[in-house]
């Protein structure tokens, strides 16, 4: 499921945008509509045009346990 989320992230990032240092921040199984869903959070550095111009971003994914499909991706907002 981590790979599924990672590939999903890599696919939706525009080619002009560069991300580095992808990390798994959390994984949690949840039951939704009698199905097991994995909620996971990935973080990465979103690098701008210059190396010092980078920002850590966090995205939460829901991945279907049966077929590894990414059902949802949303940003994790800080408080």
């Amino acid at each position: 499921m981590v790979l599924a989320a990672f590939h999903y992230l890599a696919d939706i990032i525009p080619p002009t945008q560069k991300i580095t240092d992808v990390r798994v921040e959390a994984i949690q199984p949840v039951t939704k509509d009698q199905k097991t869903i994995w909620k996971l959070v990935l973080s990465y550095d979103n690098v701008g045009d210059f190396p010092f111009d980078k920002k850590r971003e966090y995205k939460q994914f829901e991945v279907d346990d049966t077929d590894g499909r990414v059902l949802e991706m949303k940003p994790v907002d800080g408080k």
Binding site: E25, A26, I27, L40, S43, R56, V76, D77, G78
Partner: protein, 181 residues
């Protein structure tokens, strides 16, 4: 200084290179540890550890216990955290409560208390967003160069570049993925 400690190996290495450092513990992480100390088999039945997005089991207690064992005599608890633990512990089933509180008292005797003065907390603008408990951890960690142990992703996101933090969710994730520790 490495600010993101993801597994027991990294925590161990950090301990060797920062011998005097202490571990300051957030409320949920402390509750998981205390309930597990009381009875590891009760963890997955305890509503405090299985509701509101939590899914803790005996395995996660064993993991947090290993983290605590790496800081013998160097676990720090703030009065704010203790107050939250006390309040939340009242939700534990009545049939368990007496024995749980006895175990809690025995365990807390081994740890240290640290208080950040109210005036210091009030000067921290982040109080509005994070509240007194979270900011007491951050202020104490920043002042003393201690490590914060939390399972609050938003707290971690906001402060992990400022003070060393262990995101317990990440340690659990690494363990689930079979990353060696």
């Amino acid at each position: 200084m490495e600010n993101n400690l993801s597994n027991l190996d990294e925590i161990e290495r950090f301990r060797f290179s920062h011998y005097d450092t202490h571990l300051i513990v957030d409320t949920s992480a402390l509750l998981l540890f205390l309930v597990g100390v009381y009875d590891p088999d009760y963890v997955e039945h305890c509503p405090l550890l299985t509701e509101n997005g939590k899914y803790y089991k005996k395995k996660q207690f064993e993991l947090i216990e290993k983290i605590f064992q790496r800081f013998p005599g160097k676990i720090i608890i703030t009065p704010h955290v203790l107050s939250e633990v006390n309040m939340l512990s009242k939700k534990i089933g009545e049939e368990y409560r007496n024995d749980y509180f006895l175990a809690l008292v025995r365990e807390l005797e081994k740890h240290q208390e640290y208080c950040i003065p109210l005036k210091v907390l009030l000067k921290n603008g982040a109080i509005v967003e994070f509240g007194f408990t979270d900011i007491s951890l951050i202020e104490a960690a920043e002042k003393n160069k201690w490590i914060v142990l939390t399972d609050d992703l938003r707290l971690y996101m906001a402060f992990n570049t400022k003070v060393p933090m262990i995101n317990f969710n990440r340690v659990v994730a690494m363990e689930q993925l079979g990353v060696s520790y």
